[in-house]
């Protein structure tokens, strides 16, 4: 299956912003990249639908489909590049004051679909709407928890000053998080979606489709397409069938099996963003047996990572080293890759008194490959006399169940997120998604120090040490980082292999049909 690596091809296209974030580009392969963009046409893009959940409101917790929708109609101040560092969007540039408590963002000359110009007031209105204490469903609210709106202000026709309550070196990264779109001041009725994005809304039917038209006044230069249809399309097989039968040109979130089936299909092109999703098992460190570091290490030594990758993702993943954020800035790349060692695992299990023990392994179909990987891990653990009792759980409730989680192992996956944010969200003891129930005062203190350190070299060193703690005795078994797969029709060009949550993902202003 390793030949899957040489089989990917995608186009290089200079992005209008100057950010050409190519992830895992298979060097040497450039399939007919020379074709120049053609104007016109209608793109039908298929995404997993969300029924009643789907929304035009860009400040509500988004499905991938909604994120694509909002990216077409709206913009954020910043987005994340391929290395999870901020790149300019509506904010052309930014600079902090000395202690990073006030940030000046210079806005681009951009127009809304109704012809109005973007002003600092729109930015302040949008942030206030996101922070609205009366609304509980604004996901960006927790990212911006330290934003001091009362002391933020317009500082000129195209400059906005944002104040934060504590020094925040990462504000431009936080503003790139999901749910941070800039809406026009006075925006209230989500049905009247007016943004600065490359497409303007024509119609939206929840659970079915959205139609948008090219906005010629787009600040990044008009899109190539005339029309964009974002269509809710049930399961993966239906999306694959529709694409293969020529009923659509773009299908989001496809499986490795689909990619394998269509490797030699001239009508279908697979676009793979490498290592986009961290695949893992979370061990609950607050209860037996995983309150014992020996037990945690034993499990990590038992996993046959390559076999998990080969079966659960047809080989389309890179090895995991028990840490999230591989390939991103601050990732501790030099820690030794953990490999399988059944004998050492056995002796660790014996020392922990777990020889022949039975441990629950919770899993769910909530995400691709999870149940498969859980089943395989259970088989691998048998070799050390350990019984992992696989317990499938309802997919709807699964990710909330983990937070209330009982002892044992839980299948878990995490999308692309900057290392710093990931630590704050999942690893410190007060984290909102502390899936491993990790509680280590020394670790917390090290995280806080790293966050407030402004010198970049020192900061990198501190983040390295923090990750070394997790690698050594943390509760995560990260076995792989799987590709994010998109299938397109052969006649669709300019689709970048970008991870979700990054600027080039689901970016339809840069693609064309030929």
């Amino acid at each position: 299956m390793s030949n899957a690596w040489s089989r990917r091809g995608f186009l290089t296209l200079s992005a209008a912003t100057g950010v050409t974030a190519l992830v895992g580009c298979g060097a040497g392969e450039q399939p007919e990249a020379s074709a120049s963009p053609v104007r016109g046409g209608r793109l039908r893009a298929l995404f997993p639908g969300g029924g009643e959940k789907e929304t035009l409101d860009p400040h509500v917790p988004p499905l991938f489909l909604d994120q694509a929708r909002h990216k077409a109609i709206f913009d954020k101040l910043t987005e994340l590049g391929h290395d999870m560092q901020p790149v300019p969007r509506l904010a052309e540039s930014w600079e902090p004051n000395a202690d990073a408590t006030v940030w000046r963002f210079t806005l681009r000359d951009a127009s809304f679909h109704d012809g109005r110009k973007l002003t600092p007031d729109d930015v302040l209105f949008s942030l206030a709407r996101i922070m609205d204490p009366a609304d509980t469903t604004r996901p960006a609210k927790s990212l911006l928890a330290n934003l001091d709106l009362a002391n933020s202000r317009a500082a000129g026709a195209n400059v906005v000053e944002l104040a934060v309550k504590v020094p925040t070196a990462e504000l431009p990264v936080l503003l790139a998080g999901t749910g941070n779109a800039i809406v026009p001041a006075g925006y209230g009725d989500p049905a009247k979606a007016v943004g600065t994005g490359p497409f303007s809304l024509v119609s939206f039917e929840r659970g079915r489709s959205m139609v948008a038209r090219r906005f010629d006044g787009f600040w990044g230069g008009p899109a190539h397409l005339d029309e964009l249809h974002l269509i809710s399309a049930g399961d993966e097989t239906a999306r694959g069938n529709a694409l293969a039968a020529g009923e659509a040109e773009y299908a989001h979130d496809m499986s490795a099996v689909y990619a394998r089936t269509n490797e030699n299909n001239p009508a279908v092109r697979i676009v793979a963003a490498e290592g986009a999703v961290a695949q893992s098992f979370a061990m609950r460190t607050n209860a037996a047996p995983f309150d014992n570091p020996d037990a945690r290490l034993a499990l990590r030594l038992l996993a046959d990572r390559q076999r998990l990758i080969d079966v659960a993702f047809s080989g389309r993943a890179v090895l995991g080293n028990d840490l999230f954020g591989k390939g991103f800035r601050y990732f501790a790349d030099d820690l030794p890759q953990r490999t399988r060692d059944v004998d050492q695992a056995k002796s660790l299990l014996a020392r922990a008194g777990l020889t022949g023990a039975t441990i629950p392994l919770h899993t769910s179909e909530a995400a691709a490959g999870m149940v498969t990987a859980a089943t395989l891990l259970a088989e691998q653990a048998k070799e050390a006399g350990l019984t992992l009792e696989v317990r499938p759980r309802a997919k709807e409730t699964y990710f909330a169940d983990i937070l209330n989680g009982g002892p044992g192992l839980w299948s878990y996956r995490a999308g692309s997120m900057p290392v710093t944010q990931d630590l704050a969200l999942r690893m410190v003891s007060s984290a909102k998604q502390n899936i491993t129930a990790w509680n280590d005062p020394a670790f917390d203190a090290a995280c806080t120090t790293a966050q407030s350190t402004t010198d970049d070299t020192a900061r990198t060193g501190l983040y390295h040490d923090v990750q070394a703690i997790l690698h050594d005795r943390g509760g995560l078994l990260v076995w792989g980082h799987s590709d994010w797969l998109i299938a397109t029709a052969q006649r669709l060009h300019g689709v970048e292999a970008a991870r979700p949550n990054t600027v080039d993902w689901a970016r339809f202003d840069q693609v064309w049909l030929a």
Binding site: R44, L46, G49, G51, E52, K53, E54, T55, P61, L63, T136, T137, P139, S142, E205, R206, G207, R208, S209, H229, I231, S232, A233, G234, D235, T237, A238, R239, N241, A242, A244, A245, G246, E247, A248, A366, A367, A394, K395, E396, T397, F399, A400, L403, N404, R413, G415, K432, Q433
Partner: protein, 314 residues
């Protein structure tokens, strides 16, 4: 007439019990609308806050009564997920499913009638046996197996027909009938066979009956016997069978909507159950339950006319 009114009254009562049942079942599901809302982005704080905002902290009976109370003013409530009125969901999803089922029924009834009559009139002939075997076999192939087979052959290999009806609404289905061909074929297979066999049995039963024998003795022309005596009597059991066909059809719609990615009522029900969107589940079940009850009621009335029980007993 009194019997009909009585049955209708019972029907309303049944519907009430059904709703309480479904509500109790939805309550028993793990998690609620707030718990499942955030998916991978869930945090316990957000879940708690949303639960309060949606009023899910209120006791179950209060929530049920407030929804049921709205019914009397024609208000089906609002989705817990989108906040949009349930009526909006219905007007979006119902036409699609109606197009599917009505088109299917419009083909099923005459098709099954012809197949059943032809087979019944030639009882025991080679044609009858061939039709019998064919209908029995087709009727036994699960919808989803048939759907996968049809998509693979006609959409993916031959490329004659669309593989899915992704993003379609009722208008697109009607203006681009090619979209309907495979889904309707799947729905037809089972229903036509069920109904056709019932018509055949009815025709045979009528042909062997006393009054047809009598009509033959009187020397009535063959087509008169067929049209005036055989067919009307064969129709009654077929009408009763329609109730079963209706159930099969709704089950089939669930599978067909899933496989062909058609955004209709069944898809909405599955989505709403997964989102724990109780008002939407309740309203859709109310609708489907009412439809099923009406069909059953019609079948009951037909049976009542056939064997008026009050006269035969005692």
């Amino acid at each position: 007439m009194r019997y009909a009114a009585q049955r209708a009254g019972i029907g309303v009562l049944q519907l009430g019990v059904l709703l309480v049942l479904v509500f109790a079942l939805s309550e028993a599901l793990p998690g609620d609308a707030a718990y499942v809302r955030f998916g991978e982005q869930a945090t316990l704080d957000d879940i708690g806050a949303l639960r309060t905002r949606l009023g899910l902290d209120a006791p179950a009976y209060e929530r049920f009564l407030s929804w049921a109370g709205g019914l009397f003013t024609g208000d089906l409530g609002a989705s817990l997920v989108s906040g949009a009125p349930v009526a909006e969901t219905l007007t979006r999803a119902l036409p699609v499913t109606l197009v599917l089922t009505v088109v299917t029924l419009l083909i099923v009834v005459p098709l099954a009638g012809v197949i059943g009559t032809v087979a019944g009139l030639r009882e025991g002939s080679r044609l009858d046996r061939a039709l019998s075997t064919l209908t029995l076999s087709l009727q036994s192939i699960p919808d989803f197996v048939l759907a996968i087979a049809l998509i693979t052959v006609f959409a993916l290999q031959l490329r004659w027909l669309p593989a899915t009806a992704i993003g379609a609404d009722a208008t697109t289905l009607l203006t681009a009938p090619a979209l309907l061909v495979l889904p309707v074929l799947v729905l037809l297979a089972r229903t036509t066979c069920l109904l056709g066999r019932q018509v055949r049995a009815g025709v045979i039963g009528a042909l062997h009956s006393e009054y047809v024998a009598h009509a033959r003795r009187l020397g009535l022309p063959r087509h008169v016997i067929l049209l005036r005596h055989v067919l009307p009597n064969a129709v009654v059991p077929a009408v009763q069978e329609l109730a079963r066909v209706g159930d099969g059809l709704l089950g089939g719609v669930l599978v067909v909507e899933a496989v062909f990615a058609i955004p209709g009522v069944a898809t909405e029900v599955v989505d709403a159950v997964q989102a724990r969107d109780v008002p939407v589940v309740q309203s859709l079940v109310l609708l489907l339950g009412a439809a099923a009850l009406l069909i059953n009621l019609a079948a009951d009335l037909a049976a009542h006319r056939l064997v008026p029980r009050t006269e035969t007993r005692r």
